[in-house]
Symmetry: C2
Subunit: 232 residues, 2 copies
C-alpha cells in the first residue's frame, strides 16, 4: 500500500539509486508519517535517532541561542533528505512549515542499509555536497547583504525552489506566483532580520511595483528583472 513504487518523489529522492529488490527491502525498514504545520520531527540537541525523506510539504531546520534568538539554517522540499546519518547528535531542530508527509527510518537501520548500498551513499553524498554549496551561498547573504538585498534574494530563491510544486511553466521552472510557506517571523529567522524590517521591505517592494501581495501568504513577482537587481 505505502509502497515506494507509487511514491511521487521516487525518481528524485536518493532512493532513485536503488533497483526494485533494493527498494523493497528499504521499504521494509521505513514508514510513512504525516505532520501538520508547526509539528516537529526532530528537536535540536537530541541524539540523532531518525532520518527521513520529504515526500510532500516544506520543513525548516533551525537552531537558536539560549536567550531565544532563532536562526533557520535550512529549508527542505519534497525529495530532500532530512537528518544526520552516521552518528553524532542533531544540531538543529526539524519542524514542518506546511502540512507534510515524510518517509522515516530509524537511523541505525538506515546507516546499515546505506553501508551495504554504495549507490545510495553516493546519491546521499551528492545531495549533501549540493546542500553544502547552497548553505555557503546563504552565508554571503547573512554576512554581507543589506535588508533589501536579503528579502529580494529570498523571494527569488523561493520562486526557484517552489517551482516544481506550483508548475506554472512561464519562466522556465521559476514560479512568478506562489504561496509563502513562511510566516513573517520565519522569514525574519531565515534572513537574520526582525519581523518589522521584513514587513517594511515587503511593502516597499509592493510600492515600487516589483511584487504584488494579494494576501499575507501570497506573492506575485511582477518585475523579476528589478527584483534580481535588488538582490545584489
Amino acid at each position: 500500500m505505502s509502497s515506494c513504487d507509487q511514491c511521487v518523489v521516487r525518481n528524485r529522492a536518493i532512493c532513485s539509486a536503488l533497483d526494485k529488490d533494493e527498494i523493497n527491502s528499504l521499504n521494509g525498514i521505513g514508514r510513512r508519517r504525516s505532520l501538520v504545520a508547526g509539528e516537529s520531527l526532530i528537536w535540536e540537541g537530541e541524539d540523532s535517532v531518525l532520518v527521513a525523506n520529504v515526500i510532500e510539504g516544506v520543513l525548516k531546520l533551525s537552531t537558536g541561542t539560549e536567550d531565544g534568538r532563532e536562526q533557520i539554517v535550512g529549508v527542505v522540499y519534497p525529495s530532500d533528505f532530512i537528518g544526520r546519518p552516521f552518528g553524532g547528535t542533531t544540531n538543529h531542530g526539524v519542524t514542518a512549515l506546511t502540512d507534510a508527509r515524510v518517509c522515516v527510518f530509524s537511523r541505525g537501520d538506515f546507516d546499515n542499509f546505506a553501508r551495504e548500498h554504495p549507490g545510495l551513499e553516493h546519491k546521499l553524498l551528492q545531495r549533501t555536497l549540493t546542500e553544502l554549496d547552497r548553505t555557503r551561498r546563504w552565508m554571503l547573504l547573512l554576512g554581507r547583504k543589506s535588508a533589501s538585498e536579503k528579502v529580494a534574494s529570498f523571494l527569488l530563491e523561493l520562486s526557484d525552489r517552489l517551482a516544481p510544486a506550483t508548475c506554472e511553466p512561464g519562466d522556465e521552472g521559476k514560479a512568478n506566483r506562489f504561496v509563502l510557506p513562511f510566516s513573517r517571523q520565519q522569514i525574519a529567522d531565515v534572513l537574520g532580520l526582525t519581523i518589522e524590517t521584513v514587513s517594511r521591505q515587503f511593502t516597499r517592494l509592493r510600492g515600487e511595483g516589483i511584487i504584488d501581495l494579494p494576501s499575507r501568504r501570497e506573492v506575485i513577482i511582477t518585475d523579476r528583472f528589478a527584483l534580481t537587481a535588488e538582490a545584489g
Copy 2:
C-alpha cells in the same frame, strides 16, 4: 618519495579508509603541491577541475558580491578535503592563508577512483556531513549574533581547530595561545563585520583582561570562562 606512507595526515584524512594497495593506486593519480600564503588553488566560478587534501597549513573558502564585498564561507585545516567532486562548478575560491602543502587530484581521476572505493566515499560523506553541521552553526553566528559575540565565538573556534597543530596539552585539546592565520580584514570577512569593528572588539577584550595580544598575529586566552560567556 612523496609516498602516502609517511604523510602526516595519513590517518586523519579520508585516505584512512584505504588499505596499502589502494593507497598506492591513489598515490598514482595525486601529486603534492606547495602554496605560499595568499596563493589561490581554485577560483570562484570556474569549473571544478581539482580536488585536494590539506597536508599542512590553513586555507580559506570565500565568495563575494559583484561590488567587492567578500564573505569567507569556510576554513580548512590539515587533513580536511577541498573541492567539489562529482560535477558542477566551484562556488567559492580556495586561497592559502598560510604557506601550505596540499595533495591534489584531477577531479575526473578522483571521481572515478572514489566510485570504485565505497569506503573512501563513505569517509568523504562523513566529512561533508560534519562540515555541513559546522557551516550551519556558523549561520546562527552570522544571522543572530552581535559583534562581541562573533569575535568571542571566533577566537574559541580557532583555539579548538588550531589545537592539534600547537599541541599545548593544557586544556584538553584547546590551545590558549596561538598564532592567528588571519589578517584583521580576513577575520572581518569570516564574521560579516568590518575591520574597524573587529579591531575595537579585540582591544576591548584585551582591556577587560579576557585575552592578551603580544603581537598583531598572536592571541592568548587568559580567561576562557569569560570569553565563553561573551560568545553567547
